[in-house]
Subunit: 356 residues, 2 copies
């Protein structure tokens, strides 16, 4: 396939998932209206918070499904939408835990409801608490409905149970990752590189890559070995992706990523970069700046210089490449058809292409 | 049946549900251990937070099921356990929203994790936030697993879908009630009696009475009319129960209820009593005391006197009786067998017996 075809396939998949989610939210809003306009408005806010994303997880489900010979793309879109809803639930609650009120440049659920309250003259601390309270409710609704989208896929019997098991495992593992992330934030000693990798694997890679790929493969009726191989690919590429994401959050080109390279440093995000740097004496010079809410662009430059001189940037890049290579090795498993390699090779390339 | 038999039936049902939940938590802890001891400890805390309750919702499921002729009590216990897990999830998150760290006299999930942090020397605001963060994760785990307990009941096909629909509706409606409760707390004008009744119906009565009773009836294979009649019974007795609960929270005998009669007044809980009282000029005299964290026993007495003189106590008692009577009317529906009336008549009597 040439690039034009790849984009066309990707667009088609996104549209199919969008259609499933649109029907789900339309149905939910209709039900909610009977319980009052404010409840319907909450569902609208939740729907807005699932829009605008890249539908990354659903596209993983569908890519696995189609490359392994599946043809009922509507069923795959439903399973994909289940993972998208799980993703929404997890980020809405993650934002509550991180006390974030903004996502992708706009207000998230907490932010929307905080802003309504402040506009009505409610003092900020109460308005923030109200925003976070509503976000807990909204996340619960997204979470509770993820299973139901799998039910609506038409998968039945053992197949449905296996898909539920995979979704269950994805959520189970992500909760563990979130717990460890919370624990790192209050612990005296900084996390090690291994701890960060494990946390990122659990918190994000599992439900973003491994789970969706396994679900797509299972839905396609793939053999156990193929499901396992795609799962292993997902686990490793997911970790690589997270490390690259952390690298771009500090060293990226804002024009490329659309993301400031000061934010992660300002919030003191715990990444492989940090875990590596803190073991070097040079880090002491910038330790006080890291995580400072008043961090300036000049401060960020100083921290970046230290991350270079300690070799932390190089280390993280090598680690990302290492995991991407392991992902590729999983992909060359003969249990997988060439179509799967053709489908996912660009994913490996894009991760590798984003590190120097 | 005499009282002794009733207690024996109730104990048997509770044990059956306890067994299902024990197996579920044992399984989850085993899975969690592989992801690290702190995650396993979180599951233990969650299990502890589901223990010690009256298994009220499961017992409703089983009472409906057995009185309508169902004989697979293990299946009913699984469906009941699903509602218990939903209940756990909702109260764990409700406590986060209310910033409560205690339940039934002991630390809840937030409280347990706050206390671990303060013991480790973490400052209180950070420790509290950590407690609440972990409670969000714990509630998510309970919520996400409720469906799965229905799956494990052995119910399949359309039956399973109908049970999922009922559980779904219970959660859907409770989220609306929680939203309105949050909205009342920041709104300038106090809620009306009708708004309070509607909020309590949505937030608690639906998933505590109506849903469990419908689920038990559906699992027993009851006809639509019987399911609807039990649902109507549940809706009305659930509202009556909530109003009585609110009455006992202010006027109850602490030796009987095991609950302080100052707590609700101190936290300014929005109840039918309050909604009625605020429409009377006498309320102005105690308005400043209501909801004060420093409320004394003498202040509470003054508020109680006003609630008597405004007729608010009498009004709430009459309203509770009215809903209990409506519940009884639903129960005399000929679509229901005598066994159902025998089963639930004591529930009506116990609600009526708790008001003067």
């Amino acid at each position: 396939m040439d690039t034009h075809d790849l984009v066309a396939v990707s667009d088609r998949r996104q549209q199919q998932v969008d259609r499933v989610l649109k029907a789900f939210f339309s149905d939910s809003r209709y039900r909610a209206e009977k319980l009052g306009a404010p409840y319907s408005a909450l569902w609208q806010t939740l729907e807005r918070n699932t829009s605008g994303g890249k539908r990354f997880r659903p596209r993983m489900v569908m890519a696995a499904y189609e490359s392994l010979g599946g043809t009922d793309v509507d069923a795959a879109a439903h399973v994909g939408a289940a993972f998208e809803l799980l993703h929404t639930a997890l980020i809405v609650h993650d934002d509550v835990i991180d006390r974030d009120f903004v996502r992708r440049g706009g207000p998230n659920v907490s932010g929307s409801y905080r802003d309504i309250a402040t506009t009505a003259g409610i003092p900020l601390p109460i308005a923030e608490h109200r925003g976070m309270s509503v976000a807990i409710i909204a996340g619960d609704l997204a979470l509770f409905n993820a299973y139901r989208l799998i039910d609506r896929s038409g998968a039945d019997g053992i197949l449905r149970t296996r898909l539920h098991d995979i979704l269950d495992e994805a959520m189970f593992v992500s909760a563990a990752g979130e717990l460890y992330d919370v624990d790192f934030s209050i612990r005296a000693e900084p996390p090690t590189v291994d701890e960060i990798v494990e946390m990122e694997r659990l918190k994000t890679a599992g439900y973003s890559f491994e789970g969706p790929l396994q679900a797509g493969a299972v839905l396609a009726g793939a053999a156990g070995e193929a499901v396992d191989a795609l799962g292993a690919f997902g686990r490793n590429i997911g970790i690589a992706y997270q490390i690259v994401d952390d690298l771009l959050g500090v060293f990226g080109d804002e024009n490329d990523t659309g993301k400031t390279t000061v934010g992660d440093l300002r919030e003191g995000k715990r990444t492989v970069l940090l875990a590596h740097a803190v073991t070097h004496p040079e880090w002491a010079a910038v330790e006080g700046l890291f995580g400072s809410p008043d961090l300036t662009a000049a401060d960020a430059r100083r921290i970046r210089e230290v991350l270079e001189s300690t070799g932390s940037r190089r280390f993280a890049e090598a680690l990302a490449r290492d995991f991407a290579n392991r992902a590729w090795e999983a992909l060359v498993n003969p249990a997988l058809p060439d179509a799967a390699r053709a489908e996912f090779q660009p994913v490996v390339a894009s991760v590798l292409g984003r590190v120097r």
